[in-house]
């Protein structure tokens, strides 16, 4: 009766039988493929940037037939939670900030070491903060005993605070550093970027404390007092960097705590050069009052790891892919491969202005590594207590 559209009762039954068989066999075929090599599959858990079409599209072309799934996280702890919750069976690569790989993923056996012979030649060509002939590979990319290579480094940048230079001069901000947020004259004129684990460290610096040393009761009390003052003076808190840049540009606020190239670059790339990331000249971390981060991509301790995982790490070293990772959707950042002239020439003058290239070396020299604080739990509890008492 359906001969016109070619669907007879017999053909329908045949199709239905085939479909049913396929559905029934589905789980088994999946199991079969799971048990076999996953060379045609790659799953990446990462910060935004590595999952853009500018990166994944060329990878799919270079490795035809590979299905790539990339999911971006919004913070390191949430991504690590996924692995802790048993998703090591799903993901092949994880991309987090430096301290989380060495201090959390590695001890909890959530990641695997890389093949050093394959990847060290790439690292040796990276910028000086990641490899130097004297000190070797940046220790945050290595296991605590220095034997294993935990991942490949790529995006990085200073991260302290951001000002509107039409309202506050860069020199004043660099000279005064974080304690300027305690200035009564700035009360109600700044916002807080709710990257809470960063804020804990920066509040320590504001209080004149080194967050990477063990703090005593008096120092914790000083931290609490400082946190209360900073929250009391804040006009807004947001976890959205665009919202803070918008507030900075339209005059709602004059500066925000905390931020850096990562947060200011989208506004600068739009020509709003008054939005400027600041790295204070001095502070309590062995004289440093600023912080910096870099991302490290590691192999997940997947019992059936895709062989494409290491291929991907090698693939993202290509100059055009380095540029795509650096200038991904949302934020723009320098990458460790910019010491390679082939990579550097891909950045336009505007791109370099957006990432504050002219002051990058100076800012990195003023910045300490992002680490997990020894008193992180107590500081986090105090921070949350102060935050909820804000009104």
């Amino acid at each position: 009766m359906n001969s016109k559209n070619g669907l007879s009762r017999r053909s329908f039954l045949k199709t239905a039988a085939v479909a049913t068989a396929a559905v029934a066999a589905g789980p088994f075929s999946t199991l079969r493929s799971f048990a076999a090599s996953r060379e045609d599959e790659l799953n990446i858990l990462c910060w935004e940037g590595y999952n853009t079409e500018n990166v994944l599209g060329p990878f799919r072309k270079a490795f035809k037939g590979v299905t790539v799934k990339a999911e971006s996280g919004t913070d390191d702890p949430s991504m690590i939670n996924k692995l802790r919750a048993g998703e090591t069976k799903i993901w092949d690569l994880i991309n987090v900030n430096q301290c989380w790989a060495r201090d959390m993923l590695w001890p909890e056996k959530l990641i695997k070491p890389l093949n050093r012979a394959r990847f060290e030649p790439y690292i040796e060509k990276m910028m000086k903060w990641f490899y130097s002939p004297e000190t070797g590979i940046n220790p945050f990319a290595l296991s605590p005993d220095g034997k294993e290579l935990l991942g490949m480094m790529q995006r990085f940048g200073p991260f302290s605070f951001v000002i509107n230079t039409n309202k506050i001069s860069a020199t004043t901000a660099e000279d005064q550093g974080f304690p300027m947020f305690l200035d009564p004259a700035l009360k109600g004129r700044y916002g807080i970027l709710a990257y809470d684990n960063w804020n804990v460290m920066h509040l320590c610096i504001t209080a004149g404390l080194n967050p990477f040393t063990q703090l005593n009761a008096d120092q914790l009390a000083k931290f609490e007092e400082t946190a209360e003052k900073v929250f009391e003076g804040a006009k807004m808190i947001s976890s959205d960097l665009v919202q803070l840049n918008q507030a900075l540009i339209n005059g709602e606020i004059d500066l925000y705590f905390t931020g850096g190239t990562y947060t200011s670059s989208p506004a600068r790339h739009e020509g709003r050069l008054e939005v400027l990331g600041i790295s204070p000249k001095s502070g309590p971390i062995d004289g440093k009052g600023a912080l910096q981060w870099f991302e490290i991509t590691s192999l997940v301790n997947n019992p059936n790891l895709s062989p494409r995982a290491e291929d991907f790490l090698e693939f993202v070293q290509r100059p055009e892919i380095c540029k795509a990772v650096a200038f991904a959707e949302g934020t723009y950042n320098p990458v460790s491969q910019m010491s390679n002239p082939e990579v550097f020439k891909l950045f336009s003058k505007e791109d370099l202005v957006a990432i504050q290239w002219d002051t990058l070396e100076e800012e990195m020299a003023r910045s300490a590594d992002y680490q997990i604080c020894p008193n992180n739990d107590e500081l986090t509890d105090i921070y949350n207590k102060v935050k909820r008492k804000r009104v």
Binding site: R84, M236, N384, R388, V391
Partner: protein, 331 residues
């Protein structure tokens, strides 16, 4: 004594049933064979239909068990694990609940409850007239209004709230219009009233539609009778409309209260985190706090409060009557 109908002898034999009446006398009733067959099979039929019902409910029960009960039990169990640990195989402790009381988490809870109550109160006042119009006045236009309001649910909450940010921020749409009118308006954002505004805006459909449903239950004849007997508008509202539409009021209020209690985006996006809600605390504990047991304890506490409230209120509603009356009220 009853006798078999004359026609009964012409057709296949009828069954004879003896019935005992109230005075103890016996009465013979002739019934159709088909009915008798059903009567005889009824006991078996009842059992088989019950078994069929049980079997039919299995997929639903399995889904509820795997997707709702087990995760809920996991959350409850995690709330009893030592703080900042990630395994369920540990000695249970009430430490997380003690932390909740000691570290001021009740403050966040009370703020969330206050925001939710304010939202429910405002929405009741705002939605009741509109629901009345939908149920009693608009007639054919009601569908259009319903679609217009419901269509907002198809757009992500975050996108709608960011739309309001553009409207309300310093130098935004509202400030621009005000300037054109000669008024200088500072930013409307980052305060408590704007958080409540955001919640009222987002949860309006969840109050409006149950209210309209409840008001449809109020029979027009009863209202007309009250007016005929000299009742004022206020008396009709107070003594007829409100009591008879109470199921709609309760369901709308419970829905909005529960959703508002778990709200997170309004305080973050519009309020600049002026208020840290309990949902934000739970998110923080699970993410950067890396304290699953504390997050679980906060979640268990919130679920407990919500469950007690919802069950207490919903026990007062006869759902069959609510839905049945709605059907009766339809033309």
């Amino acid at each position: 004594m009853s006798e078999a109908p004359a026609s009964a002898f012409a057709s296949p034999p009828h069954a004879r049933v003896l019935l005992r009446d109230a005075s103890g006398g016996v009465r013979v009733v002739w019934i159709e064979p088909a009915i008798e067959a059903v009567r005889q099979q009824s006991a078996f039929g009842e059992i088989s239909s019950r078994a069929f019902g049980m079997a039919s409910s299995f997929p639903f029960l399995a889904l509820m068990l795997a997707g709702f009960v087990v995760p809920l039990l996991c959350v409850c169990a995690f709330s009893l694990m030592p703080p900042r640990t990630f395994s369920l195989a540990q000695i249970p402790t009430l430490a997380n609940y003690r932390i909740i009381f000691e570290q001021g988490y009740l403050l966040s809870l009370s703020k969330s409850v206050a925001l939710a109550l304010a939202t429910v109160g405002i929405l009741l006042v705002v939605c009741y007239p509109l629901a009345f119009a939908l149920a009693k006045v608009f007639r054919s236009g009601a569908a259009l209004v319903t679609y217009a309001i419901a269509s907002s649910l198809f757009v992500s909450e975050n996108i709608r709230l960011f739309g309001w940010v553009i409207g309300l921020m310093k130098g935004g749409v509202l400030a621009g219009i005000s300037r054109q009118l000669g008024l200088e308006v500072e930013s409307w954002l980052y305060n408590v009233p704007v958080i409540i505004f955001g919640m009222v805006y987002v949860y309006l459909p969840f109050m409006l539609f149950p209210l309209a449903l409840g008001l449809q239950m109020v029979p027009e004849q009863v209202r007309e009778a009250a007016f005929d007997l000299g009742a004022s508008r206020w008396q009709v509202f107070r003594m007829i409309d409100v009591p008879l539409s109470m199921p709609g009021i309760v369901i709308g209020s419970v829905l909005v209260f529960v959703l508002s209690l778990g709200a997170i985006a309004e305080a973050k996006i519009l309020g600049g985190q002026k208020v840290v809600t309990i949902a934000a605390e739970i998110e923080t504990a699970f993410t950067f706090g890396q304290n699953w047991p504390l997050g679980s304890a906060l979640a268990t506490m919130l679920i407990g409060i919500t469950a007690v409230l919802v069950f207490a209120l919903l026990r007062k509603i006869d759902f069959e009557r609510f839905l049945g009356r709605r059907l009766e009220a339809e033309p």
